[in-house]
Symmetry: C2
Subunit: 187 residues, 2 copies
């Protein structure tokens, strides 16, 4: 992301090595020169980036997942989301996640914007899409994906986001950033 | 976080081992039994949790950091934040981060709420505080912490959040969740 105040990097990277990796993400350990001239180590969780899609039906409902997350041992209200897949564009990934997670097809799918989920440790970028005219169909969940599909009115979902009832940070932020667009979709 | 729909865990954990660790976070690899009875592997980035503090001065300005993040090679607008430290409570960590990052002391510091930053891969919980009556003083940055301190009117910071100019997701979400409280602090 560019900014008028952008000053470039104050660090110099000397070397990089992967210290752990999985199918989904890895940990990179860099040796760097700090601004004070000292050598240091910086660890980066390397993630391919991910899309979050707000699915809005023709009748003005938002499709929410009630998703069990093993990482936090908790059930979370979320919109469909997933990591970027090799060979697929951002938009193709969004279309695919919509299909897999809610069996969804959309009349239109529009890019909204992006943010970092956890820039202190990880390079993941969250890309936000709004899908309109969504119809639900047959899902295609993997065994480790445990979730229920709910539809709720836009006003109710925005209330949940404002009242901090949506514990998945990227979902809550996507909804609040898109609030004025979503309000326009209320029938 | 509890929810009336809470159903407990659909997975059974068989074993856990740490496959990589650093001073700040680690990666745990669990062998689990999936709901379909198959054995599977789930990786969890283990993080101690972190606090994000919205610092509001007596004159109705928010203190923002313009922070270089090596993970994403980018300068980001952020509020003060930091991981939980051993032996410190959440509130003590918030007070300490305020002091270290902006040399800040506050007349009051109130807990607002929490959310997950990246529950697909990591167990990090972001805890949000609002600090009122903040005065700036001598900072205490480590060599790898490269940031500038800016103060901006509450209305301008909320505009930046709404316009997606704040690329640090947890900062943007903290600001939007606290919008009505912050508006009440405008002189």
């Amino acid at each position: 992301m560019t900014n008028s105040l952008d000053k470039g990097s104050p660090f110099q990277t000397i070397s990089c090595r992967i210290v752990w990796s999985s199918k989904w993400y890895s940990v990179r350990q860099d040796t760097i020169i700090l601004p004070d001239g000292q050598e240091g180590v910086y660890n980066v969780v390397q993630h391919p980036g991910a899309v979050w899609i707000i699915p809005v039906t023709s009748s003005g409902q938002i499709v929410l997942l009630y998703h069990y997350r093993y990482t936090v041992d908790d059930w979370c209200w979320e919109i469909p989301a997933g990591g970027l897949k090799p060979g697929l564009s951002l938009e193709e990934t969004a279309v695919e996640e919509l299909r897999e997670e809610i069996g969804g097809t959309a009349q239109s799918i529009d890019y909204f914007g992006r943010f970092y989920t956890a820039n202190g440790i990880c390079n993941e970028v969250a890309h936000i899409y709004i899908a309109k005219g969504v119809s639900l169909g047959q899902t295609d969940h993997e065994p480790a994906e445990v979730m229920e599909i709910h539809t709720k009115p836009i006003t109710e979902v925005l209330r949940m986001a404002h009242d901090n009832e949506i514990s998945d940070g990227p979902t809550a932020l996507a909804l609040l950033l898109c609030e004025s667009l979503l309000v326009n979709l209320i029938p």
